[in-house]
C-alpha cells in the first residue's frame, strides 16, 4: 500500500502547476469553469479553445494515447495527476466529448484510417465534438433511439432529432448514435458515426437551461448525407461500442480537486464576512458544513486514485462500479456544495452573475446546474442500479409489460 508519487510524477505535477498558473491569467473575468463556463458564452468558449490549443501543443490532450495518433503513451497515474491539477485550477481545454468519449471509442473500434484521420486533430485541440445520443423519447433508455441513418450507396441518409446536445452550438463534429436498420429494435441495428456539423440539413437549436444559460441544444437532421467512411466500427454493432463509451464517460476525475478549491474560496469568503457582527467562519453550523464538504472532497479524491489503479490493471468490472460511484459522489457533492455555499452566504446566496455577488455568483448557478449533473451521463438512479448489478451481483428483475 503506497500512495506516494515518484520523483518524475512530482516533477510533472510541478510543471503542470506552473503551466496552469500562468495560463489561467488569460481567463475571462469571473470565468465559471465547468460546462457552463465553456459553453454559455463566447468568451468562455474562446478561452476553452485557446486552452485546448495550448494543451495540444504540450501533448497533454492525448497524453495517454499511442504515439502514432499524436499521443505520448503516458501512464494512468500521469493522466490522473493532469486531471487533478487541471481541476484544481478550474482550467478548460479538454473536450469532454471529443477527448473524453469519442477518442477512446475510436481507439477501441475505429479503422486504422479513421484513427489516423480523426485522432490527431483532437490531440492538437483543433476539433471539438458534441454527443449525439439522447432523443426526446430515449433518455435513460438509450437503446430506444429512433433517428435513422439509412445506407444509400457510399452514404447514409440521416433523419431524426437529438436532444441535450451539450455544446452543440460550438462543436465541429458530433458522434452520432443512429439506427441503420429501420426494422430493428433496441440495441440491435444501431451504428455510430462521425458527423461533420456543417453538413447541409443539420440544424442546431438552443435548449436553454433553467437559469437561462445556453448549454444544451436540440439537433435536427433532415436528409443529411453522411459519407460511409465515417461509420465507426461495424454497421449494426453501434450499441456495443456505445456501451463501452458510457464507461469512458463516467470517470470524472479532477472534479473533486476543483470543488476543493471552491471550498477554500468559500472559507476565505467566510473569514472576510461578518453577519450581525459575527464572522461567518466562527458559526459552528457553518463550520460543520465546511467540514463535511472537505470530507467529501477527500473521500472522492481517494476514490479517484482507486479508479486509476483499477484502470492501470484493466480491471473492467471494478472500473464500472467504481466509476459509477465516482459519478454519484461528485455530482451529489456538487449539489451539497452549492446548497451549503448558498446557505452560508445567506441572502447573497441567491445572486447569480452580478457585480455584488460573492464568488462571481457561481454558486447560485451551480445550485441550478448541479441538477443537470445528477441526470446527464446516466442518471444517478441508473448508476445505483449498475453498482448493484455489477458491483454487488444483485439480480436484475424483469417486468411484465
Amino acid at each position: 500500500m503506497d500512495f506516494s508519487l515518484t520523483a518524475e510524477e512530482q516533477a510533472f505535477e510541478k510543471e503542470l502547476e506552473v503551466f496552469f498558473e500562468a495560463e489561467m491569467k488569460n481567463a475571462p473575468p469571473e470565468f465559471a469553469g465547468g460546462l457552463e463556463g465553456i459553453y454559455a458564452n463566447e468568451e468562455g468558449n474562446n478561452f476553452h479553445k485557446y486552452m485546448a490549443k495550448r494543451l495540444g501543443e504540450k501533448g497533454w490532450i492525448a497524453h495517454a494515447w499511442p504515439k502514432q495518433y499524436g499521443g505520448m503513451e503516458a501512464t494512468i497515474m500521469e493522466q490522473m495527476i493532469f486531471d487533478e491539477v487541471r481541476g484544481r485550477y478550474g482550467a478548460p481545454g479538454i473536450d469532454a466529448f471529443g477527448v473524453g468519449m469519442f477518442a477512446p471509442t475510436l481507439l477501441v473500434g475505429a479503422t486504422e484510417e479513421q484513427k489516423e484521420r480523426l485522432l490527431p486533430p483532437i490531440a492538437k485541440g483543433e476539433v471539438f465534438y458534441c454527443q449525439g445520443w439522447s432523443e426526446p423519447d430515449a433518455g435513460s433508455d438509450l437503446a430506444s433511439v429512433t433517428t435513422l441513418a439509412i445506407r444509400d450507396g457510399d452514404h447514409f441518409i440521416v433523419n431524426g432529432q437529438k436532444t441535450w446536445t451539450t455544446g452543440g452550438h460550438y462543436s465541429d463534429h458530433m458522434f452520432l448514435l443512429a439506427r441503420t436498420d429501420s426494422d430493428s429494435k433496441r440495441g440491435k441495428g444501431l451504428s455510430v458515426f462521425n458527423v461533420d456539423m456543417s453538413l447541409p440539413g443539420i440544424e442546431v437549436r438552443p435548449l436553454l437551461y433553467m437559469d437561462g444559460n445556453h448549454i444544451y441544444n436540440e439537433v435536427y437532421f433532415k436528409d443529411v448525407k453522411l459519407p460511409a467512411y465515417d461509420l465507426i466500427g461495424e454497421e449494426g454493432k453501434g450499441w456495443d461500442l456505445t456501451r463501452q463509451t458510457m464507461n469512458f464517460e463516467r470517470s470524472g476525475q479532477g472534479a473533486y480537486a476543483g470543488m476543493r478549491v471552491i471550498v477554500d474560496e468559500l472559507i476565505g469568503y467566510m473569514k472576510n464576512t461578518k453577519r450581525g457582527g459575527k464572522s461567518l467562519a466562527d458559526d459552528p453550523i457553518n463550520r460543520k458544513k465546511i467540514a463535511q464538504l472537505i470530507i467529501d472532497c477527500e473521500m472522492g479524491t481517494t476514490l479517484g486514485y482507486k479508479i486509476g489503479w483499477y484502470q492501470s490493471k484493466n480491471d473492467a468490472m471494478n472500473i464500472i462500479w467504481s466509476a459509477s460511484s465516482s459519478k454519484l459522489l461528485a455530482t451529489e457533492l456538487a449539489q451539497r456544495l452549492s446548497q451549503y455555499a448558498t446557505e452560508i452566504m445567506g441572502s447573497y446566496g441567491q445572486m447569480e452573475d452580478d457585480p455584488e455577488a460573492p464568488m462571481g455568483g457561481h454558486m447560485a448557478n451551480l445550485y441550478q446546474f448541479c441538477k443537470g449533473m445528477t441526470i446527464y451521463a446516466g442518471t444517478n438512479e441508473i448508476q445505483r442500479n449498475l453498482i448493484a448489478w455489477v458491483g454487488l451481483g444483485l439480480p436484475r428483475l424483469k417486468f411484465k409489460p
Binding site: M210, D211, S347, I375, P401
Partner: protein, 371 residues
C-alpha cells in the same frame, strides 16, 4: 375541529386559480421574469378589480375582509402558478406592517390605496451584512430639525424597483424605527439584482433622504417589535406560497411520471421513483397541514415564534426537497427553461431567503423551546 375550508374560501380559491390559469400561464410567467418590471401592471389592476387586495383588509380601511385565511388561499394559488407580482411586498409585508402599527390616517390612506390597486409598496429591512434580525438594522436616521435624514444602503428589497412607497427600517436615537418614504425621492437609487428567483430583488441606496415625523410607521424606536409581529403573519403567508408551489411541483411530477415511458413502462412504476414521490407527498401533506394549523393560530391570536419558525424552517427544507426530486424525476427536460418544474426549483431556493432562512429559524425554535 374542522379541517376543511368553508364554501366561501373554496370559492375564493377557485376564482384566484381560474384567473391565474387564464391570465398568466407559465409561458407568461417566464416572460414576466425576464422583463424589467418583473410583473404585469395590467394584471395588477385586474387583481384589484377582482377584490384580492380588498379581501386582505378590514372594511374600515377600504377592504371587506379580515380573515387571514383569505391571504393564505391567495398566496397558495399564487404559489401554484409561480405568479410574479408585488402582492407579497405590498399587501403582506407593508400592508400588515401598516395594519399593525400605522396611524389611523396612514391606515385609511395607504391601505385604501393598496386595496384599490393604486399603491405598490416595498419593505427595506436587510442591509449589506444580510442579517435577518430586525435588531441588527444599523442604517442611521438622524434627526435634523423636524425631519429624519436617512443615509445608507438596503439590500434584498423586493419590488423596490416598481414600488411607489417604501417602508424603511433605520436606526434613530431611540432604536430601530420604520419610515414611510416616497420611492421616487431623488435621494433614492435602486438597482435590480440578478437573482436565482428573477424576482425583483433590489439594492436601494439612500442619500440624504428626508422623512417628516408624520411619516413614521409606529412609534420612534419600536421598529423591531413591529417587524417581529408583522413577520409572524408574513412568514405564514410566504409559506402558503411555498406550499402551493410544492403542491404543483408534486402534481406535475406525478403526472409526468405516469405518462413518460422508458424501458417500456411508465417511469412512475419504478420503485425508486415511487419512494421519491411517496416522500414528496408526505413532505407536501405535512407542510400543508401544519401551514393551516399555524395560520389558524395566527388568525386566533395564538401564534407563537416556535410555530411560525418551525413552519418556515420545515417548508424551506421540504420545498427544496420536493422540487429537487421533481427535477430529477423529470430528467433532462426538467432542467430546461421551457419546462415548468424549473420555475419551482428556483423559487424554492429564492424563498428560502425570505424573512429568514432555515438556520435562522432553527435557532429561533431552540430559543422558543427554552434553550
Amino acid at each position: 375541529m374542522d379541517l376543511d375550508f368553508n364554501k366561501e374560501q373554496e370559492m375564493l380559491r377557485k376564482s384566484v386559480a381560474e384567473f391565474l390559469s387564464k391570465e398568466c400561464p407559465f409561458d407568461d410567467v417566464r416572460e414576466l421574469e425576464d422583463s424589467e418590471k418583473g410583473y404585469s401592471p395590467a394584471l395588477w389592476k385586474k387583481m384589484a378589480q377582482l377584490g384580492w387586495m380588498e379581501a386582505c383588509f378590514p372594511e374600515t380601511y377600504g377592504g371587506y375582509g379580515e380573515s387571514f385565511f383569505d391571504i393564505i388561499i391567495i398566496m397558495e394559488e399564487i404559489g401554484k402558478k409561480a405568479y410574479p407580482s408585488p402582492f407579497f411586498s405590498t399587501v403582506v409585508l407593508c400592508g400588515q406592517t401598516i395594519l399593525e402599527a400605522g396611524s389611523e390616517k396612514q391606515k385609511k390612506d395607504l391601505l385604501g390605496k393598496i386595496a384599490a390597486g393604486k399603491l405598490i409598496m416595498a419593505l427595506a429591512q436587510q442591509e449589506v451584512d444580510a442579517s435577518f434580525e430586525p435588531a441588527d438594522v444599523s442604517m442611521p436616521a438622524e434627526l435634523s430639525g423636524d425631519q429624519y435624514v436617512l443615509n445608507g444602503t438596503k439590500m434584498f428589497v423586493q419590488d423596490a424597483n416598481v414600488a411607489d412607497k417604501l417602508i424603511v427600517a433605520a436606526r434613530s436615537s431611540e432604536g430601530v424605527t420604520l419610515f414611510l418614504v416616497d420611492a421616487k425621492d431623488p435621494g433614492i437609487s435602486c438597482r435590480k439584482l440578478n437573482t436565482i428567483g428573477k424576482d425583483n430583488i433590489c439594492r436601494v441606496d439612500f442619500k440624504d433622504v428626508k422623512v417628516s415625523k408624520d411619516d413614521l410607521i409606529g412609534d420612534d424606536g419600536k421598529g423591531v417589535d413591529i417587524l417581529e409581529k408583522m413577520s409572524q403573519r408574513a412568514v405564514v403567508a410566504k409559506c402558503a406560497e411555498m406550499v402551493g408551489g410544492a403542491q404543483e411541483s408534486l402534481e406535475m411530477t406525478v403526472s409526468y411520471s405516469k405518462q413518460r415511458e422508458q424501458y417500456g413502462t411508465p417511469i412512475g412504476g419504478f420503485q425508486i421513483m415511487q419512494h421519491y414521490m411517496a416522500d414528496m407527498k408526505i413532505a407536501y401533506e405535512t407542510c400543508a397541514n401544519y401551514l393551516y394549523q399555524v395560520a389558524w393560530m395566527v388568525d386566533e391570536g395564538k401564534a407563537t415564534v416556535l410555530a411560525t419558525s418551525a413552519l418556515k424552517a420545515e417548508v424551506s427544507r421540504q420545498y427544496k426537497f420536493i422540487t429537487e426530486k421533481g427535477v430529477q424525476i423529470h430528467g433532462g427536460i426538467g432542467t430546461t427553461r421551457e419546462f415548468n418544474i424549473g420555475l419551482f426549483y428556483r423559487r424554492a431556493k429564492a424563498f428560502e431567503y425570505v424573512l429568514g432562512d432555515a438556520d435562522y429559524h432553527t435557532e429561533k425554535i431552540a430559543q422558543a423551546a427554552g434553550m
